[in-house]
């Protein structure tokens, strides 16, 4: 089958139990009440001409092309704005309608260039289709109309062009930007023929406007006015494959639209349950890294890290690696070996890496990068609720009345979900919007952006989350706002009493704690009251919660609040971790932690071990292994020798870079399996080239526990998909693995993991996605968790006492540094820096409050030295009131900056998740890169040398 756009039913789906039946061109059709005539006709298999309607936008009724005749109704109503009624009889194709529609079409075409044959949208243009549908043969008005013919093309956006000469002023783009994305960057200027779409202020082009390049307007445009540059370059796609974005935890699904082996564009899939047809700039456009010249395609080895790399065959690389691993195991014991799985890789790949470590290396020394982001979520939610998982699906936010966002910046880090959230906050069709509470040291975009304003923003001092949440709990308990009925029914009452007595004491009041948090007590009281009494209240949190010395306590404090107010177990409420990378949930589910096997079962549990031992035919160590920081410590002490790292760049992403570097340098065998020579690879002895998400089959599990398929759309350029690389390494070590497709790995996961027992590829392909647990109790998956009871039985209240971090400001380091991320870049930036996204964020900058800047004689754009007790770096300052006085902020997307040189190795008490969000620093003027940066750049350059090809025999 050739290429087709996804069907467009004209107006959005209506949900409801009340159905009506009408007849359209003689065919009866039954639809939910409130459905438009246009949609009903489409559902009945017909098609009414349309231009201004699209099923992800509210009907607008401006083009007048969709007119119909309805028995007993005068005139010719627009079918997009007319709802069906019981017994209605509709005619969609009559001579009268045809004449009217031709007239409308003529007007449009008279203002449109007729270069269809050479237009990049040729054969993929709704204007063309509709001209054909209405049988347009002649244009009586002449082609000189008013027109924007000859208007200049705006090519400022790196991914799409705006060619105003082709605009029919249907305003679909404007509405997409308002309704779907919520950025409100576009307007229609002028009226009638002279009307024209414009991005922001006069003279602003797309790039300099508010536009965040989500692509919603491009998708909405029925003509070639807004179109992907890639389509212009490559041509119309010829097939489409549905797959899942490999960037963030939202897990948007896309149609990868292909021409041969070439990706033309990624179009968000309307049936995707996580994104419902929306996307952000990363998933939609930033996939060019897959073809970037920096990508390494052949395996490489070297005996020491001061040598240049030597390209070798896969056989040589694998046998060399296996031999070295075996030697080191013999010499230093199995616990001198370990592995790191990646939350960027698929579930199947992650499962194989931990299997290789446990069954092949014979140790539980396996960890995942989730260690450095959401391990406290695992600990906190397991302790309080019984399992490590967000409680809701994304759709649940539509039923929230109060939204509390703490330590998360969804408009940058989870943009597509942020758009959903913002839509709910704006309200719709007379339904008032949800109220919003933001707890964050920074004034994030959510606090104030077009048509959104937080009811309350609590700008706390970094490191005091627990204090603020305890103060809120204090107010809830003291003012009698707790939902005791819920607590008695669902939680352990004694534990609740113990907790309530604790939070009620005076020293936990907002007034007393204001001393440490810096938050106005009245605001804390108002936030507590709103959260407890405002209706369905949902908490969304991110790394600003977990990456603290009390990260786990904060997660438990959040869970306590939700239980105390009965906000758990139904739609619209819940506790929702917003996961950073795409497969954080999955990586944790797959047994990537050193103390547990898949499905969060501790290695000391003999029954679970027996299951794995029977399947794998090897004994499993009953003792927990080393976590990433422990591995590095052990390496420095000489007890840890070899590390296999799949898809992670711990040198750049983990805290206290010098310590990570020392740990890596102390190992005898570092195996990096990645797309690029990342920073960690500077310390590696073996480089195994990886494949991109476009080149493999598998599954990702998003932040709402939704398991979705990743589908291979092109052959791996490096020759092997990542799961095959791990399998080949296992075989080289003598393990008899024989998977021929990732679906077999999923079958093994399902056999061994109760929460996955109902998951298999056939079902995923048939149903699109499944939300775990999928088992006998929930055969169709679980959109909402803890509905009738908590996974652990009774919900458990845990006293979370505020313990200040050991990282303190003082005379030498008077400011607090907190770190975060930005929309256009992703994690360590290895992928996004290698795309045009770099145009939005070319370097990491340090946000500093005007007062702090002035005290130090700093101007916007100056080079500054950022120093902590761990180390120092330099970067440019951005003077802004987004951060409070005393707080500075930066991102860590660029290796040149190495923000983690300054972060410390303090960590969460329960999980060792590093305390990225609080570092005491000093900022001072500087004239350029620090010594460390210069040394580092030189060392990186040397260690990236690849020996020129020796003459190699042909294969």
């Amino acid at each position: 089958m050739g290429y087709e756009r996804q069907a467009d039913f004209g107006t959005p789906e209506v949900h409801g139990d009340h159905h009506v039946t009408c007849t359209i061109d003689g065919r009866a059709v039954t639809v939910p009440a409130g459905t438009s005539v246009m949609r009903a006709a489409a559902l009945a298999g017909g098609s009414i001409p349309k231009l201004c309607a699209s099923d992800n936008l509210k009907a607008f009724g401006s083009c007048r092309l969709c007119l119909v005749e309805i028995e007993g109704m005068r005139g010719t109503p627009a079918s997009c704005t007319t709802p069906v009624a019981e017994g209605m009889k509709v005619q969609t194709q009559t001579p009268r309608l045809q004449k009217l529609r031709r007239g409308v079409m003529e007007l449009y075409i008279s203002d449109h260039p007729l270069d269809c044959l050479t237009c990049s949208a040729n054969n993929d243009c709704e204007l063309q289709d509709q001209a054909a549908a209405v049988g347009l043969r002649d244009v009586r008005y002449g082609y000189e109309g008013e027109t924007h013919l000859g208007a200049a093309i705006d090519t400022s956006n790196p991914y799409f062009d705006f060619d105003p000469s082709k605009c029919i002023a249907c305003s679909r783009c404007v509405r997409a930007c308002d309704e779907v994305q919520g950025t409100l960057a576009l307007t229609i200027e002028g009226r009638g023929f002279a009307s024209k779409v414009s991005a922001g202020l006069a003279g602003e082009d797309f790039f300099s406007s508010e536009c965040v390049s989500c692509g919603a307007c491009v998708q909405a445009c029925p003509t070639a006015t807004l179109q992907e540059k890639a389509v212009k370059d490559i041509g119309k796609p010829e097939r489409a494959v549905v797959t899942t974005c490999a960037y963030c935890g939202v897990g948007c699904t896309f149609r990868a639209e292909m021409r041969g082996e070439q990706l033309v564009r990624m179009i968000p899939w309307k049936d995707g349950k996580a994104n419902h047809g929306h996307s952000c700039v990363k998933g939609r456009f930033a996939w060019g890294y897959a073809q970037h010249a920096d990508r390494i395609l052949s395996p490489m080895i070297r005996d020491a890290i001061d040598q240049p790399w030597r390209e070798v065959s896969w056989e040589e690389a694998l046998s060399y690696t296996a031999r070295r691993l075996q030697e080191l195991r013999e010499r230093h014991g199995r616990n001198a070996l370990g592995g790191i799985t990646s939350s960027r890789c698929t579930n199947e790949e992650t499962f194989l890496v931990q299997k290789l470590v446990r069954a092949g290396f014979g140790t539980n020394n396996v960890d995942t990068c989730a260690r450095v982001c959401h391990s406290p979520t695992g600990y906190g939610l397991k302790t309080t609720f019984g399992t490590s998982a967000g409680t809701q699906d994304f759709d649940s936010v539509d039923d929230s009345d109060v939204i509390l966002v703490i330590g998360a910046n969804p408009t940058d880090a989870h943009p597509v979900f942020a758009s959903r959230m913002k839509r709910r906050i704006r309200g719709k069709d007379g339904r008032p919007g949800a109220r919003l509470i933001v707890i964050d040291p920074r004034r994030t975009d959510l606090v104030r952006s077009p048509h959104i304003a937080a009811d309350l923003h609590l700008p706390l001092r970094p490191g005091t989350n627990v204090a603020v949440l305890t103060a809120m709990a204090h107010v809830i308990v003291i003012e009698g706002l707790a939902d005791e009925e819920f607590i008695r029914a669902r939680c352990d009452w004694e534990e609740y009493r113990h907790w309530a007595d604790f939070v009620a004491i005076d020293r936990n009041s907002p007034e007393v704690l204001a001393e440490v948090t810096g938050v106005t007590p009245q605001d804390v009281r108002a936030a507590a009251r709103l959260y407890a009494t405002g209706g369905n209240a949902a908490i969304y949190y991110g790394l600003g919660v977990t990456e603290h010395s009390q990260g786990s306590s904060t997660v438990m404090a959040i869970a306590n609040l939700a239980m105390a107010t009965g906000n758990i177990g139904r739609r619209g409420v819940g506790v929702n971790p917003l996961r950073g990378q795409n497969n954080v949930q999955g990586a944790c589910d797959m047994g990537s932690f050193p103390h547990e096997l898949s499905g969060y079962r501790h290695v000391s549990d003999a029954a679970t071990r027996a299951l794995f031992e029977a399947e794998w035919g090897v004994p499993i160590d009953p003792e927990p292994g080393l976590r990433i920081p422990n591995m590095l410590d052990a390496a420095v002490e000489g007890a840890f020798k070899a590390l296999y790292i799949q898809g992670e760049d711990i040198l750049q992403s983990d805290p206290d870079t010098r310590h990570v570097a020392a740990g890596l340098a102390a190992m005898e065998l570092v195996i990096v399996h990645d797309l690029f020579l990342n920073e960690t690879a500077n310390y590696a002895h073996v480089f195994l080239p990886g494949s991109t998400f476009l080149e493999k089959d598998g599954t990702f599990t998003n932040a709402e526990r939704r398991i979705q398929r990743v589908r291979k759309v092109m052959e791996p350029r490096n020759g092997l998909a990542d799961w095959e690389v791990t399998q080949e390494l296992a075989r080289a070590m003598g393990l008899g693995w024989n998977y021929t497709h990732p679906s077999q790995i999923m079958d093994e996961i399902a056999r061994l993991t109760p929460t996955f027992s109902g998951v298999n590829y056939a079902r995923l392909d048939a149903e699109g996605s499944l939300q775990w647990p999928v088992n006998a109790a929930a055969p169709d998956g679980s959109p909402i968790m803890h509905v009738d009871g908590f996974v652990r039985g009774k919900g458990r209240f845990v006293v979370t006492d505020y313990v200040p971090t050991d990282e303190r400001t003082g005379p030498r380091f008077p400011l607090l540094l907190t770190t975060g991320r930005i929309l256009s870049q992703y994690n360590v930036g290895a992928q996004t820096r290698r795309t045009a996204n770099a145009m939005w964020h070319g370097e990491d900058v340090l946000e500093i409050h005007p007062t702090d800047a002035e005290n130090r004689g700093l101007q916007d754009g100056d080079w500054v030295r950022l120093a902590s007790r761990s180390g120092e770096t330099t970067l440019r300052a951005k003077v802004t009131e987004r951060v409070a006085p005393g707080v500075v902020y930066t991102t860590f997307h660029h290796p040149e900056t190495q923000a983690n040189v300054v972060t410390t190795d303090f960590s969460d008490w329960a999980t060792n998740c590093p305390e990225y969000k609080v570092t005491a620093v000093q900022v001072s003027p500087s004239n350029g890169p620090s010594d460390w940066q210069a040394d580092y750049a030189e060392q990186a350059r040397r260690s990236r040398r690849i020996e020129l090809h020796r003459a190699e025999p042909a294969e």
């Binding site: 014991g333 616990n335 539980n364 020394n365 604790f502 010395s549 009390q550 786990s552 306590s553 050193p594 103390h595 501790h602 000391s604 003792e623 927990p624 292994g625 080393l626 976590r627 422990n630 410590d633 052990a634 420095v636 002490e637 007890a639 206290d656 010098r658 310590h659 020392a662 006293v799 006492d801 313990v803 050991d806 902590s868 007790r869 761990s870 180390g871 410390t904 190795d905 960590s907 008490w909 329960a910 999980t911 060792n912």
Partner: protein
Amino acid sequence: MTMDPLDKLVAMANQIARNLAHDDDPAGATAAHIATYWSPRMRAQIAACEGEGLTEVSRDAIARLGVRHAD
């Protein structure tokens, strides 16, 4: 800034004990936590430090660990 590994383990144990201070049995909870999440080698190391730098609760916890020999 980077701490000596043993000092780091001691600091970690103290931090755990401090955060579990409101448990019915803080030392027991601390011991259980360490047994669940620390590798045998880490447990052996801290047991060998003979309580130096440990708070009362964490010392009690370490004593209750019943450390086996790491391989």
